[in-house]
């Protein structure tokens, strides 16, 4: 009987891993000794970072999604269903439709869920760009604001040293808002205020989650007349008065509250009981080198669901995926693990509407900020529109 590698989640991590597994294990797959199966709750694959561009009227919905099957090699068995329960002791997952699937190796790549409702008043009065519909709502406001105050907040998970979704996104969007308002000719009537919480992973009272970048940000913001505040940890929002209140006791008014909201793992992961994360966030205890889930046999995790200090973004999945593929291949072929993840994250930041800045870092070294330029911007835009889909297919 074929050994089954079951991948949960049809995001970028799961998709590139499924394709890479078939490629790596092709002799076993073609001789039916290994089966690769993907379980996803949607027949569509969404390029999630493009939701950020939706907030600036740069992407239509059909431009940022593809049928999931069109991105998978034909050897992969693809099933659309929602995982309701992980039965780790029985090496099985149970789905909401009533179906169950056994596995020999399991890869959990279920992402995270933006949860503004976890801060009082934020869902009612705040906006974000991490999902399609909220991004459309934000776009309507950004395209029509004539004067007032855009207040930007960033909210970290309560678990120590775990970042919010896509570390660079709040800076990217702040600069994009500035460019957009200048294009619209209303920038001089709209104040932009960027804030960062007191605790940002291992840093305190900074403007970013890495020190080198934090040090250059005041200059970047001052050049654009963007106001900035350290130590604003959002506690609650008064939707009627349009006031954001911090844990440090400050009150700030706003016309648009653009927030990076709290996040959590999906329900099935939280309900599995494996996570030790506070605040019911659900991050799985992850071996930072092998990408196994601590305490479980033959179960791996990647992307947003890990409890590692690296960015919750596709640029992390891209470096974690080959490690998991190599480790499963070596388990099947040699009986032991083979590869280690060094914490590498690679991305191209969108620094305003036109410019881009390639960046990379790992467990040992932080991002070294370089001057953003148009060539970097073209690289990012080409990635958004074309190269991303090659990455998903496991070609890059």
């Amino acid at each position: 009987m074929a050994k089954r590698i079951l991948i949960i989640g049809g995001g970028i991590g799961g998709t590139m891993t499924a394709n890479h597994l078939v490629s790596k294990l092709y002799p076993e797959v073609s001789s039916k000794k290994v089966e690769v199966m993907m379980l996803s709750n949607s027949p569509w694959h969404y390029y999630k970072p493009a939701f950020m561009y939706v907030a600036f009227n740069k992407f239509f919905k059909d431009e940022l999604r593809r049928p999931q099957q069109s991105l998978l090699r034909p050897e992969i068995k693809f099933v659309v269903d929602e995982v309701a329960e992980f039965d780790f002791s029985g090496s099985r997952v149970n789905c909401s439709s009533g179906q169950s699937f056994d596995y020999d190796y399991l890869i959990i790549s279920t992402g995270c869920v933006p949860s503004p409702e976890r801060i009082e008043g934020l869902k009612e009065a705040g906006d974000h760009f991490y999902q399609y519909d909220p991004a459309r709502n934000l776009a309507k406001k950004l395209m029509t604001i004539e004067k007032g105050r855009i207040f930007i907040t960033v909210n970290f998970p309560k678990m120590a040293n775990v970042p919010h979704q896509c570390g660079i996104a709040p800076i990217e969007t702040t600069l994009m808002v500035d460019d957009l308002l200048r294009k619209r000719g209303v920038r001089d009537k709209v104040e932009i205020v960027y804030t960062y919480p007191t605790v940002a992973q291992l840093l305190r009272n900074c403007l970013f989650l890495q020190k080198d970048t934090c040090d250059v940000l005041p200059t970047v913001f001052e050049q654009r007349d963007i106001k900035f505040q350290r130590s604003f940890t959002l506690d609650h929002v008064d939707p009627d008065k349009k006031i954001a209140v911090s844990e440090e006791g400050k009150e700030e008014d706003f016309d648009i509250l653009m927030a990076t909201p709290p996040i959590r793992a999906v329900d099935a992961v939280i309900n599995s009981g494996v996570s030790k994360a506070p605040n019911n966030e659900g991050w799985l205890p992850t071996n930072h080198e092998t990408m196994e889930v601590y305490g479980l046999e033959n179960v791996f995790v990647m992307g947003d669901t890990v409890d590692l200090p690296v960015s919750k973004a596709g640029g992390s999945c891209h470096s974690q995926s080959p490690v998991i593929v190599n480790n499963i291949a070596s388990l099947i072929r040699l009986g032991h693990l083979f590869d280690t993840y060094d914490g590498r994250v690679v991305a191209i930041a969108q620094m305003g509407l036109e410019d881009g800045m390639p960046l990379w870092y790992d467990y040992e070294s932080d991002v070294q900020p370089t001057p953003p330029n148009k060539l970097g911007g073209l690289m990012r835009k080409s990635f958004n529109r074309g190269v991303y889909w090659s990455v998903a297919r496991g070609l890059v």
Binding site: S30, S31, K58, S70, R73, P74, E75, K374, L375, L378, K381, S382, N384, R385, G386, V387, W389, S390, R393, L395
Partner: protein, 140 residues
């Protein structure tokens, strides 16, 4: 007007050129030896031209151009990738057959709904080809 032009000063009076190590000095002289004939033959101008054209292309490229080029890229790569995958998978399946299927066996294979869907795809391709060639072209 009091404009200081450093290029008119003797080299030893300027602070703008820092001292190089002997190894670096030797490397620089070697590089100058290499570049000298290129400069004399105006061939280095072509490199400057290439840089200039590259800068022009970067400046001329806009979001709309990126969108169209990337669409072509994705469709080309996706098409080749898909065709390659299908050929590889079909080849593997056929190689694993102990004997080639009989005529009746081929008919039985068509009972598989995925095979029928694939055949329908081929027939729809044929329909598209037929549509593109259905209009007779009259002589001028």
């Amino acid at each position: 007007m009091n404009i200081t032009n450093n290029t008119e000063l003797p080299l030893e009076q300027t602070n703008s050129i820092r001292e190089l190590s002997p190894a670096a000095q030797a490397g620089l002289e070697e590089l100058i030896d290499k570049v000298e004939p290129l400069l004399a033959g105006r061939r280095l101008n072509r490199i400057v031209d290439v840089m200039s054209i590259t800068a022009d292309v970067v400046d001329m490229t806009d979001d709309y151009m990126i969108e169209k080029l990337c669409k072509v890229y994705e469709e080309a790569i996706g098409g080749i990738w898909n065709a390659g995958n299908l050929a590889r998978m079909a080849g593997s399946e056929v190689r694993n057959m102990e004997e080639p299927p009989s005529t009746w066996g081929l008919v039985k294979m068509a009972r598989d709904p995925e095979v029928r869907r694939g055949l329908a795809f081929m027939i729809m391709m044929a329909k598209g080809l037929g549509r593109q060639t259905s209009e007779p072209l009259p002589e001028e």
